[in-house]
Amino acid sequence: MATASETTLVRAHNESATKWWTRFLDPSERTLAVLLLLPTALLLSLIIVYPVCRLVWTSFQNLSLTSGAPATFAGIENYALMLEDPVFWETTWNTVLITLITVPGALLVGMALALMANLPFKRKWPVRLSLLIPWALPLAFAGLIFAWFFHSEYGVVNDVLRRLGFEGVIWFNSAKWAFAAICLTIIWKTSSFMALIILAGLQTIPRSLYEAAEVDGAGRLRQFFEITLPLLKPSIVVALIFRTITALQTFDIPFTMTRGGPGTSTATLAMYIHQNTVDFLDLGYGSALAVVMFALSMGVTAVYLRMIRAKG
């Protein structure tokens, strides 16, 4: 049987080899591999590789589109300017703070959601949908919806606070409260994705491990720390890397909720890059800022990778 089909294959191949256009349509494996990977390579070169080179180059240039003057070499001028720019420090600090608050926050809330969602519910779909909807909702929509939640007069948050006997808060007039509202929104928006990843990890842990632990008399808390958490580590680490890198790029939610205000107290580095590039058309300075963000996220990736390897 096998030989029969092999001969057919050989015959079919010989026949097709006689026509040049068939050979063009049916190239050797190596040529085919190159051809198939070519679109990916071209696209990544145009959208990632070339822009990265260009980014680093432009960050050493004086290039402002408003003046119309041609680009001139600026050396480290943009970077020196940055170090003395209080708005740079403020937006960078805000970005780091948002990362430090919302990444662990989303992890904790996501873990709680996943543990709850892992209970043996009779109907799975309402729980699944409740985790998927926040993930699928555009960040900008989440920002707008929560801005309405936190509206000082007609928002549901202040309504609940007042019903509970507290004073309503004018969320977006104070840097602190606005920042808190933004962080809460980001945690809500990102925790359900964390939960989905952790839930998938939970479902791969064999039940027999828990049964054995129960036989040995280990309580629920001990089971969680000695079985669940160690076995979840790989999925948690991967989710954390991605969450941290997206947190460093935070833009949509603060932009839609406060536009960075009051003042620049809730503006992020991404918002400052956007402002310098699109509003001020100062591409040199915008590039230098972007290089800093790039370095930050490369640093995060490196630290996490080292952590994975160290604890392996």
Partner: protein
């Protein structure tokens, strides 16, 4: 069997508590979307009444009418749809080719290419705002769909490729070989045999790509400043009211923007979950 687990696993699996926990999960996930739906159905008078009402007293569609007439919401929807669909199609086409090569062909440096693709998925696209802005400007592509379609394709390419590689690897080679014996070329076999068999994978990848594009905000805001070319998130965010931010109209517009993705998610929920948790991770 379920009785046994209930007694074994103590209080936490008790039925009343389980219902309560399910309720908490559903409220956490659905409340914001539901609240904006309620808001959109209220009259302006009801919205500014104090204390605020929760359920709309006299539901009205007036806000929806205004959402479509005050601003070109239909155009925003159209832009979002076209950009998302075209970038999804492009992503799928490119990643099907790449994934087939990575799953089936002998390639030197296959692992290196795969790690490069994973590295791209962690790449902070925001940092490329400046050079991409320059490139699109130089190519005269600012204020076109293409300015968004190309970066969005890169945004979803890694996830889609990884999902498709794992699906293609699961398809028996015999099926492909017999198609080639029947006179199909290798590429013919890819599109006539492998892709149809991996349809669930292609679909999953497609949904993820669509949602990624539908949700993107920063590049859409930066590259397409012309109001006629705004996508939905940008269009709604930059809605200008005559006086204050027009919440009644905004809420209706938000509902309009949530519905398409919600429908996708409701229909294909299991597929989306498997795609998110297996092949690719990006949030």
């Amino acid at each position: 069997m379920s009785h046994e687990t209930t007694t074994n696993r103590s209080l936490l699996s008790g039925k009343p508590l389980r219902i309560l926990i399910g309720f908490i999960l559903v409220v956490n996930g659905m409340f914001p979307a539901l609240w904006i739906l309620f808001t959109s159905l209220k009259t302006e008078a009801e919205l500014t009444a104090k204390p605020i009402t929760w359920l709309p007293h006299a539901p009205t569609m007036a806000n929806y009418l205004r959402a479509f007439t005050d601003q070109p919401l239909l155009l925003f929807l159209f832009n979002s749809f076209m950009v998302a669909i075209l970038s999804t199609a492009l992503t799928l086409f490119i990643s099907v080719l790449a994934a087939y090569a990575l799953a089936r062909l002998q390639i030197r440096g296959r692992d290196l290419i795969l790690s490069a693709i994973i590295a791209v998925s962690t790449f902070p696209l925001v940092t490329l705002l400046v050079p991409l802005f320059e490139i699109m400007r130089a190519l005269g592509l600012l204020n076109t769909w293409i300015a968004l379609i190309l970066p969005y394709t890169v945004l979803s390419l890694p996830v889609c490729t990884l999902i498709l590689v794992s699906f293609f690897e699961g398809i028996p080679r015999d099926l492909e070989n017999s198609a080639m014996i029947d006179g199909c070329t290798r590429l013919g076999a890819l599109f006539k045999v492998v892709v149809p068999l991996a349809a669930p994978g292609v679909f999953t990848a497609g949904i993820l790509a669509f949602v990624n594009s539908w949700d993107e905000f920063l590049l859409a805001l930066s590259f397409n400043s012309n109001p006629m070319l705004r996508t939905l998130p940008v269009g709604i965010t930059l809605y200008q009211g005559e006086f204050a931010f027009p919440w009644p109209v905004i809420s209706a517009a938000l509902v309009v923007g949530i519905v398409p993705v919600a429908v996708l998610i409701v229909i294909f929920q299991e597929r989306v979950v498997s795609g998110l948790t297996s092949g690719g991770i990006k949030g």
